[in-house]
């Protein structure tokens, strides 16, 4: 797992109070990890803060799983 993936996972565990084992790449924040719409807004903010990236609203709306988040951030970081 990449450094980014590790960090994303850690943030999700922290913010949603879920067990690390549940934070698989395909896990959906809302359907699998118990987040509500406000939680996902906060989660995206936490990603922005942690990785010093800007995630515009339309991009944020498409980030629904752990993998979505990792892919988006990796792409931003590579750019």
């Amino acid at each position: 797992m990449s450094e980014i993936a590790d960090k994303v996972k850690k943030i999700v565990v922290e913010h949603l109070g879920v067990d690390e084992s549940k934070v698989t790449p395909d896990a959906s924040f809302i359907d699998d990890l118990g987040a509500d719409s406000l939680d996902t807004v906060e989660l995206v903010m936490a990603f922005e803060e942690a990785f010093s990236v800007e995630i515009p609203e339309d991009a944020a709306e498409k980030i629904t799983t752990v993998k979505d988040a990792i892919d988006y951030i990796e792409k931003q970081k590579a750019a």
């Binding site: 913010h15 109070g17 906060e42 903010m45």
Partner: protein
């Protein structure tokens, strides 16, 4: 049981559950035993550095293990949810949990859930949350504002969280009348039950304003005690000649109110009946009461009228008594209302032990008064060493007294010239 005044020919309302978190700790019984023993909940402010403020003492809810009466928040609110609520909501949830569990009311049917409501208010609400969010915006980080900022700060969110936690789908309401909030919440919720809007209401107040904005704001209004920073236990001294302002406290008081037949039918324990409720406005000044506290006089008078009582029927008054100059004005009003019966009256200010819990004060003090009925004990007014004026009313200086108490009146008055009195009687 004789039905009187407010309740005659109407649905009667009784108290079937109680919960408190205060500077005296968690739990109704712990609060009461410490209060009756003459203990207090004061210390130098520990939650932030108050050294540059004139007032440096407060009554903070003690942190510590739940079993020894301290607050361990994770025992009450899941860690991931804590940051979604200001501290006043945390404290409200702690007291509401105790009250609901104490009542034993667990509505199983959808109909019962829809007949159970919540009415918990606050005087100020999420002040510290608003402060921190303001700093974030000021630093140019408005886009980083938490999506939980607004629901964390809103006063009616204690009611919201309690209804979500327990599935109570009846009236969901909230009171905001500064330091009169707690009494208004109980009185208004009782009337909702009387009028048939609900059969059970969880009612009370919560407050957590021991924070830089709260202390500095009341300091600027010259409302807080500033001369006892090195002797916090002496700072709250209602009616004493050396009093110099109130001491801020934090916490929550919550009661479960229930229609009498409903409570009886399920075999609930009944602490007291809400038999009278009175309100008034001063129409005088934003912070100062009028001469003779005539607004307080009318609130008490209205409560007695609604209960169909005369002063001779009341044995104990829990005074608003904040340890400010207004204490003697309330005393004037009580003396005038009670007339010759003032000689037989006991009146104390439990703020001498807890400080002033603002929007939570009225509810916490109503609960103390119910326990005064239960145990026939008038709790003391601490630090009343030298009354600034004499009175025929026994203000229970220093030490609790055993007295026959079956009916009490509890007062709360708020900025804006708002006054509320509630009368409770043993059942």
């Amino acid at each position: 049981m004789q039905s009187t005044g407010l309740t005659s020919g109407q649905r009667r309302v009784v108290v079937t559950g109680m919960g408190i978190v205060s500077p005296l700790g968690l739990g109704v019984e712990r609060n009461w035993s410490r209060l009756v023993a003459g203990e207090n909940g004061f210390g130098r402010i520990s939650s932030f550095d108050a050294s540059d403020l004139p007032a440096q003492v407060a009554g903070e809810v003690p942190a510590g293990p739940t079993e020894s009466g301290g607050l361990t928040l994770s025992d009450w609110v899941p860690v991931k949810d804590q940051k979604k609520m200001d501290r006043f909501i945390h404290l409200g949830l702690v007291a509401a949990t105790e009250a609901v569990e104490d009542s034993g009311w667990k509505p199983e049917s959808e109909e019962d859930r829809c007949r159970t409501g919540v009415m918990i208010g606050a005087g100020i609400g999420g002040l510290q949350t608003i402060y921190e969010a303001s700093v974030t915006v000021k630093e140019g980080r408005a886009r980083r504002l938490s999506p939980f900022f607004i629901p964390s700060a809103l006063i009616n969110l204690v009611s919201g969280h309690v209804s979500i936690k327990y599935g109570f789908k009846g009236p969901n309401h909230s009171v905001v009348t500064a330091c009169a909030t707690g009494v208004h919440a109980i009185g208004d919720a009782a009337r909702m039950i009387m009028l048939g809007d609900a059969d059970v209401m969880v009612a009370g107040g919560a407050e957590a304003a021991v924070c830089p904005l709260g202390i500095a704001g009341f300091c600027s209004a010259k409302a807080l005690s500033t001369h006892f920073n090195d002797t916090p236990e002496k700072a709250s001294r209602p009616w004493d000649r050396d009093r110099d302002g109130f001491v801020m406290g934090e916490g929550a008081g919550i009661v479960v109110l229930e229609e009498y037949e409903h409570a009886k039918a399920r075999g609930a324990k009944i602490y007291a009946e809400v038999i009278g409720y009175g309100m008034s406005g001063d129409a005088h000044h934003i912070t100062a009461p009028a001469a003779g506290h005539e607004g307080a006089f009318r609130a008490m008078q209205n409560a007695m009228r609604s209960a169909g009582l005369t002063p001779a029927d009341i044995q104990y008054v829990n005074a608003h008594g904040t340890s400010t100059m207004a204490d003697d004005l309330e005393l004037d009003a009580v003396e005038r209302l009670f007339g010759d019966d003032a000689r037989n009256l006991a009146m104390s200010s439990t703020k001498s032990a807890t400080g002033h819990l603002l929007g939570a004060a009225g509810a916490v003090e109503a609960i103390y008064s119910i326990l005064a009925i239960r145990d026939n004990v008038a709790p003391p007014t601490l630090n009343l060493d030298n009354p600034s004026r004499e009175s025929v009313i026994d203000r229970i200086a220093h030490t609790a007294q055993e007295r026959r108490i079956d009916t009490i009146l509890s007062n709360s008055f708020g900025f804006g010239g708002t006054n509320a009195s509630v009368i409770l009687r043993g059942v």
